[in-house]
């Protein structure tokens, strides 16, 4: 199998087709930014992008990523070493508390903003409905995603 992760190509033996993507990212590639909160596809802490679509890495197998491009939180970068505008918006709006849900939250928000640069607050709440956060009550997370939208206009 050929799986591209954050721009780097990995050749993976076919015998590992049914290995779980989350475990592979964390344990084989040491990309520990992607978190495990429930392991059953509910909490969204493990969301990564596969060909720009948000996917729960705990419910994906390596074969599902074969020939595709996986983006994790570590792959999200701004220009010239800066934070990505969405990451910066999370910092500026006080959206981060314990931070455990944040990588999944940012990846889900990023996937939404790639599709729709100016979602309404309701659209945002719907998009992150399956990303659980126990700390923030979501308000400042919605603020950050809403505020970052214009940065996607410029990059488009």
């Amino acid at each position: 199998m050929e799986i591209k992760v954050n721009g780097t190509l990995h050749i993976v033996d076919d015998s590992r087709q049914d290995d779980e993507l989350l475990n592979w990212l964390r344990e084989d590639l040491n990309l520990t930014g992607t978190k495990n909160g429930c392991h059953v596809g509910i909490c969204g802490a493990c969301v990564v992008l596969i060909d720009n679509k948000p996917m729960r890495a705990c419910r994906r197998l390596l074969k599902h990523a074969d020939g595709k491009e996986v983006t994790t939180i570590e792959g999200l970068k701004g220009q010239n070493g800066a934070l990505h505008p969405l990451q910066q918006a999370f910092v500026d709006h006080g959206s981060v508390q314990c931070g455990y849900c944040i990588p999944g939250m940012i990846m889900t928000g990023h996937a939404l903003l790639l599709q729709n640069h100016h979602p309404s607050r309701e659209d945002i709440r719907k998009a992150i409905a399956n990303n659980l956060c126990r700390c923030t009550g979501y308000v400042q997370i919605v603020d950050a995603i809403e505020a970052a939208g214009s940065a996607y206009d410029e990059n488009a």
Partner: protein
């Protein structure tokens, strides 16, 4: 009032938005082993034998540990040493662990765990705390001779006599459920046995000092052999006190026995099954009133389900006792609160700590009282609530800080438009949208920090380096609330330097004096107070040393804008000043401790329930607007507002963040969260069935901060973690009553769909 739209700053935000923040399960060491706990199906049983032979032969299994392998004592606890780090004599709850399987890989350990068997003989079981409190009930811990963990009382005035002179008496029953903390990161600890004989623990926890005590106990080693380091924690909410300490102690035990690094990471089901919850309460509440609208007497009896182990039940129920009448003046009080063992999952610290249950009851009782008297529910509250100089039910005079209850009440009413909106309350008649609509509110006071529960003191260290940079640390632990940032901001303010110079050193239990647990909303008040004291000490030391150079008296030197300035105009930059200290062979280093003085600031008499329960108090009010769809019974939160007096908002965006998160958690507590526990077994073991509020189920919140500088705190700041949670369930309960015309006196409040 604080500006609510400040650009946010916190020291760990960048690490957390880039995925660089390393949580416990993100740590790896060479030669690291993986540990898996083994449970049984039982809820109450005698352990005859544990068979590990078969599992030991499985591939990759290094060792299997049971209670008999423990070099120290497998029994521990913060108050009563009844918790079994590994079950030895009995299974007392379904989440008891009988063995730890240590494997080269997690997959191997998981596989082998299936082959560990326990030879058990069933015992009776008891699940109702009121039944368990009775004489002759089956004993969970026969050595204690009773299932009653503690009995707290308040005896103020003469309640029985007062009821005789009341015009109206209300007598009601309420029940609350277990609540799971549901931090998104399950428990995890990695223990690394060092070549110096010290075991270093990297774990997800909010109380490193208690993790160290649990570990030392199980190993039978001194505290100095264990070093618990601070790493990012994926949420705590009170829940990463005992359970997290137990996980750390088990990892440490395995590390010592194998002499290799060991990781114990919980999956969600183990976490839900084993970790302690919020106490379910059965509450009998009688209130007597006179026609003039005054509360004359309260008679309160509570059975709190402590589950199989004591944990901090006596402390949780202490708060319920001290605050048993909510923020109201009641001259005659007879209160009995029992913490009781059952065979349910054990219960312990959870954000709110004995107040959410009481507030849920009291804030409904006052509305029932107003209704019975034909009074406005807000007027009734104003008439009876504590004011400046009032005396609490435990005979504490509220005169050392600003009593701002009426201020937060008025602000909330105004911000949400309570008076306008309550005209739309439907009281059981569908409105034009085909829904029931209601607005409700609740208010509280809350004693800050531990109060008379126990010794309350906290250390801070400020260590300036010769290049002008500064390292600080405190005995408060970062759980996600932003405590490190609050300490940096406070240090910068009091030293008169830019915060960019300051780095927060993540403490380890070997570097900072034991400052107790980061619970009880005590982080900000205790930590920033300690920082202010240490900063004051450092400035005094620097002034003393540098006064000759500045040609003035030490006390005349002003620290501001990264400079030390004398009245004569002479000045030194911070960098110059610090460097000069080193040339004078003086370390610009200060340690100090903020103490709550026993008997002066806090006091308590167990027999009467009289005393200064807490050294200062905070005040809050929250309101909720809801709509109910009669066909589904679903409660939709349309809008909610909160006003809290925090003394001083050190880092406003995160004070607001605490309130937002607390309101969400309180809404979950009130309307959806339920373990589905039956005969001691939890049905809802993952976040699919155990529902917590989602983004599309919540509105934006209207949050207002009130800042009445508190002289009891060295920084003026108090706390917000718990006050933020304790009001949403009663506010929603009142909104539901105003919408449906019915009172829901059981949590969670589930409204049956109409046919």
């Amino acid at each position: 009032m604080a500006e609510t739209k400040t650009k946010a700053w916190r020291n760990d935000a960048i690490a957390k938005v880039t995925g660089r923040a390393k949580y416990a399960d993100d740590y790896k060491f060479y030669g690291m082993l993986h540990v898996v706990p083994v449970y049984t199906d039982a809820v109450s049983a005698e352990i005859r034998a544990i068979h590990t032979e078969e599992a030991e032969k499985m591939p990759g299994i290094v060792r299997i540990v049971t209670a008999k392998d423990v070099p120290g004592n497998p029994h521990y606890g913060q108050i009563q040493k009844d918790y079994r780090i590994l079950a030895d004599d009995r299974i007392r709850m379904n989440g008891d662990v009988i063995a730890l399987v240590i494997g080269e890989t997690r997959a191997q350990a998981l596989e082998a765990a299936k082959y560990v068997r326990a030879d058990l003989s069933p015992l009776p079981a008891i699940f109702d705390p009121e039944e368990a409190a009775k004489e002759g009930a089956f004993l969970i811990h026969p050595d204690k001779g009773t299932n009653i963990i503690n009995h707290h009382k308040v005896r103020t005035g003469d309640a029985e006599e007062a009821f005789k002179h009341c015009d109206i008496i209300l007598d009601e029953f309420f029940a609350t459920q277990h609540q799971e903390h549901a931090y998104i990161e399950p428990e995890s600890s990695v223990a690394d046995p060092g070549d110096d004989g010290v075991i270093r623990i990297y774990g997800s926890m909010q109380h490193p000092f208690v993790a160290r005590r649990f570990s030392a106990c199980v190993l039978g080693e001194p505290l100095s052999n264990i070093d618990v380091l601070t790493i990012p924690v994926g949420g705590g909410f009170g829940g990463k006190d005992d359970t997290a300490a137990i996980v750390a102690a088990r990892a440490a035990l395995c590390a010592r026995l194998t002499d290799r690094p060991c990781k114990l990471t919980y999956d969600r089901e183990w976490s839900m099954k084993e970790s302690y919850k919020r106490h379910p309460y059965k509450i009998y509440y009688k209130m007597g009133l006179t026609k003039d609208g005054k509360i004359q007497a309260c008679h309160v009896t509570v059975y709190a389900d402590g589950g199989a182990y004591c944990s901090v039940t006596p402390w949780v129920t202490f708060r319920s006792t001290a605050q048993c009448c909510g923020p109201y003046v009641v001259p005659n009080v007879h209160c009995d609160i029992y913490g009781v063992h059952t065979n349910n999952v054990f219960t312990g610290a959870f954000r709110g700590f004995g107040s959410p249950q009481i507030n849920y009851v009291v804030e409904q009782m006052v509305e029932k009282a107003a209704e019975a008297l034909g009074m406005d529910e807000i007027e009734f509250r104003r008439l009876n609530c504590v004011k400046q100089g009032s005396t609490t039910v435990t005979l504490q005079k509220l005169d050392n800080h600003t009593v701002s209850l009426e201020q937060v009440l008025s602000t909330t009413i105004e911000k949400i438009g309570y008076y306008e909106k309550r005209k739309n309350n439907t009281y059981g008649k569908l409105n034009e949208n085909g829904e029931y609509y209601g607005i409700g509110l609740a208010m509280s006071y809350r004693g800050m920090s531990l109060g008379a529960e126990g010794p309350d003191f906290c250390a801070a260290i400020i260590n300036a380096q010769f290049d002008g940079s500064i390292i600080i640390e405190t005995g408060i632990h970062e759980n996600g609330q932003g405590s490190e940032s609050a300490m940096i901001i406070t240090a910068a303010e009091y030293l008169g330097v830019n915060r960019d110079r300051i780095r927060y050193h993540r403490s380890s239990t070997s570097t900072i004096p034991d400052s107790g647990t980061t619970v009880a909303s005590r982080g900000t008040i205790m930590g920033t107070s300690a920082v202010v004291l240490a900063a004051t000490k450092l400035k005094a030391q620097m002034s003393q040393c540098l006064a000759p150079a500045l040609e003035c008296n030490p006390e005349e030197i002003v620290f501001a804008n990264d400079c030390l300035t004398a009245p004569n105009g002479k000045s030194l930059t911070w960098d110059q000043a610090v460097l000069k200290m080193f040339f004078l062979r003086e370390h610009p280093f200060a340690q100090d401790t903020f103490r709550v003085r026993d008997g002066i600031d806090c006091s308590w008499d167990e027999e009467t329930g009289h005393g200064k329960a807490y050294f200062t108090w905070v005040y809050g009010c929250q309101a909720a607007e809801i709509a109910i769809n009669p066909k589904t019974g679903k409660i939709r939160l349309i809008n909610a507002a909160a006003t809290h007096d925090v003394g001083k908002a050190v880092n406003p965006p995160f004070v607001i963040g605490q309130i937002n998160g607390g309101m969400a958690q309180g809404f979950g507590y009130g309307t959806m969260e339920d373990l589905g526990i039956k005969d001691g077994k939890i049905a809802n073991l993952n976040l699919g069935k155990y529902k917590i509020p989602k983004a599309n189920e919540l509105p934006d919140f209207i949050v207002t901060l009130v800042e009445n500088y508190d002289p009891m705190s060295k920084s003026g700041a108090k706390g917000i973690g718990e006050p933020a949670l304790e009001l949403m369930a009663p506010a929603v309960a009142n909104a539901i009553a105003h919408a449906t015309g019915k009172r829901y006196q059981k949590l969670p409040m589930i409204i049956p769909p109409e046919k």
